[in-house]
């Protein structure tokens, strides 16, 4: 913009030049907006396709109809097979019961794991950002690295030991077992984000409180926590996304009781000759909660990732 105003004052006489610059700016605008729209289409089309397919009948699927009310008349077919359409919602449906059970499992496990990770992760992140620790030869830097480096641990490494250990602990196919594992999975990310959050909060606030006689824990709970709350929400949502979508551990460690939604979706895709409409309805229902989270809490997710990225 500055270059443009400089141009304005300098070259009132060079009108042709100005026209060229304006044309250039216009073409840049056109390029930017078309690129934005193309990518918006790429991001949205699979979701659009899934949602519309859940309202299609067999003929609409095979003929590749795309636009409701223009190409095809929406029907509740997919949702009826899930027991979630208006005419079946008040009848008993085994599929719906199954779906709701998986949905409840996913909710309990992912919310529980995220909450637990936020509590112990925030405490650790706060401690590491404020006090000098010495644990044998390990200093703060090493302890932080120990936590964050858990991120590189591939799930396959832990999968089998946990299969055997959980069998011994009678935690196989339980929600608690899965919750603990997911807590472990999201803990590095929570600590990574929260440490930067706490670093941003000026240390003088707590020092002032401690001069007034507050202990470290009172200073943390009363003064630092409220300031770090937005960051905690961000870390919580990020953890929630990862835990809700996890498939690998759930597929290996659960069988009937604690099965989560991704496992249910995967077990349906495996069968041949799938009903597209019911698969689409199931997929749409399983992504719906996080799509809503994304739509309404996008601010927090972006903020959380942003503090992590820039030092």
């Amino acid at each position: 913009m500055t270059a443009q105003t400089a141009n304005d004052t300098l070259s009132a006489a060079r009108g042709t030049d100005m026209r060229r610059v304006r044309l250039q700016l216009l073409s840049v605008r056109v390029f930017i907006y078309s690129a934005l729209i193309v990518w918006a289409f790429v991001a949205l089309f699979p979701i659009y396709w899934t949602v519309t397919t859940s309202f299609k009948t067999a003929v609409d699927v095979t003929q590749g109809h795309l636009i409701p009310w223009v190409d095809f008349i929406p029907s509740w077919k997919g949702w009826r097979s899930l027991g979630l359409s208006p005419d079946t919602i008040f009848q008993t449906s085994t599929v719906r019961i199954e779906f709701l059970k998986r949905f409840a499992n996913s909710t309990i496990v992912s919310v529980g794991a995220s909450a637990l990770a936020i509590v112990i992760g925030s405490l650790a992140a706060y401690g590491l950002s404020r006090f000098p620790y010495k644990f044998g030869p390990l200093r703060n830097k090493d302890i932080s690295f120990f936590f964050v480096s858990q991120l590189i641990l591939p799930p396959v490494v832990l999968a089998l030991p946990f299969l055997v250990l959980y069998k011994g602990l009678a935690l196989l196919d339980t929600r608690i077992g899965l919750t603990l594992l997911y807590t472990l999975m999201v803990l590095p990310i929570v600590i990574w984000i929260m440490r930067d959050q706490f670093m941003k909060i000026p240390i003088e606030l707590e020092e002032a409180a401690m001069v007034d006689g507050a202990t470290v824990w009172v200073a943390f709970l009363r003064i630092v926590m409220p300031l770090a709350l937005p960051g905690m929400v961000a870390a919580f949502i990020l953890a929630l996304v990862l835990a809700w979508n996890e498939y690998f551990f759930a597929a290996l460690l659960t069988s009937t009781n604690a099965t989560t939604l991704p496992v249910m979706v995967a077990s349906q895709t495996g069968s041949q000759g799938i009903n597209w409409w019911s698969m689409a309805a199931l997929s749409a229902a399983s992504i719906a909660p996080l799509v809503l989270v994304g739509l309404f809490l996008e601010r927090f997710i972006i903020q959380g990732l942003m503090t992590g990225a820039v030092k």
Binding site: L36, A43, W49, L66, G127, F131, L153, P154, P161, V310
Partner: protein, 372 residues
């Protein structure tokens, strides 16, 4: 991630805080010792029971878990009692440390041991120590090396994802209308579960008969659009799906970097007459290198765990062309119950990852230091 140093000068130091009354200190020590003794006794009873030395004991290992939790609590309380103010401070990190140690160190060591045994869950023989036999088998296992080779290809694709994500981040940081709308829309794929995406894209959008992508490909003149038929096309299809989910993640990290750039430098470049292309390559890109490296390394870490999509869409096919290490070992566990061998493969993979990432990090750090 890349930089964990630079935190001194922002810390509360404690001098002269060690003063604790002698009685409290004794009580704390007693508590910790009692809890340790309890943990050892419980463990001993169970082990002796399992080996048949004594005739009573527990049904499963769960009491040991409870004893560990109790011991952890006692340790925390004991810290406060014996070390006073410093104990209160230790209380912040102790829960996370105790949790991680129990959940990572012990299972990893156990996995290492299992990796050196011949153990198939479906055979009746049980566990047999067989030293380095699994290791030898691994070197002759063409499928495993094939999976590792595939991982290299998949990881290299991160660079393309990074390019696209960088472009999207630049678009979003340009002066545009409806920025919030585009930001939300661009973020959405990151929220979706890979398993759902496997169906949404892999099994329906890319379906060769009725999928819109196939219809479109036919329209463009590709006679029989089989997106998972030939090895390279299948690899590309898998990469595209995975990229579709994770590009938003990289994009947001880069967007954060772009917004933190010093505005004066960019303005100065404009005044000096640099065009957009020049100011990007001379200023924006070099300044973005540290953030870029964080983003790329994080993305590689996630990429190395790639499995859900492969398991659900191609199951490693055609002919192992899309097999990842994780999906290969998953089948080793699930279909063949070959846990001993599978563990060794997983351990070897972990060691490879650590070596490669360490090299990458030190290389990256040197590059960044030279440029900035």
């Amino acid at each position: 991630m890349v930089d964990t140093s630079g935190m001194s000068g922002h810390q509360i130091h404690g001098a002269g805080l060690e003063h604790v009354a002698e009685g409290r200190r004794k009580a704390g020590r007693l508590l910790m010792r009692a809890a340790s003794a309890l943990l050892i006794i419980v463990l001993l009873i169970h082990v002796l029971n399992l080996t048949g030395v004594i005739g009573f004991g527990f049904e499963n290992w769960r009491p040991i878990l409870f004893a560990y939790v109790l011991w952890s609590v006692a340790l925390c309380v004991g810290q406060v009692f014996t070390r006073g103010e410093l104990g209160y401070r230790a209380l912040f990190v102790l829960p996370a440390v105790l949790f991680t140690v129990a959940m990572v160190i012990f299972p990893t060591l156990f996995g290492l041991y299992v990796g050196l045994t011949d153990w198939n869950l479906s055979s009746f023989d049980g566990r047999k120590f067989n030293g380095l036999d699994n290791f030898r088998t691994m070197f002759q296992d063409a499928f495993y090396w094939n999976a590792l080779r595939n991982m290299v290809i998949f990881v290299l694709a991160v660079l393309i994802e990074y390019g696209i994500a960088f472009m999207l981040a630049l678009l979003l940081s340009a002066q545009i209308r409806a920025r919030k709308f585009f930001r939300v829309v661009f973020l959405l794929p990151f929220m979706l579960s890979p398993v759902a995406v496997s169906w949404m894209i892999g099994k329906s959008l890319l379906e060769f008969r009725f999928g819109p992508a196939a219809t479109f490909a036919r329209f463009l003149g590709w006679e029989s659009p089989a997106f998972f038929g030939a090895p390279w096309i299948a690899r590309i299809s898998i990469t595209v799906m995975d990229a579709w989910i994770f590009i938003p993640f990289v994009m947001i990290l880069l967007l954060a970097g772009l917004q933190a750039l010093p505005r004066e430098v960019l303005e100065a470049a404009k005044v000096d007459g640099a065009n957009a292309w020049q100011s990007f390559w001379r200023i924006t890109f070099p300044l973005m290198l540290p953030v870029s490296l964080t983003a790329i390394i994080l993305r590689i870490i996630f990429k190395l765990k790639l499995a859900d999509i492969v398991i659900n869409v191609t199951a490693g096919g055609p002919g192992g062309a899309t097999d990842t290490v994780t999906s290969f070992i998953f089948r080793e566990y699930r279909d063949r119950s070959n846990v001993g061998y599978g563990s060794l493969l997983a351990m070897f993979y972990l060691v490879l990852i650590i070596i490669v990432l360490t090299l990458l990090l030190s290389f990256a750090r040197r590059r960044v230091e030279r440029v900035t």
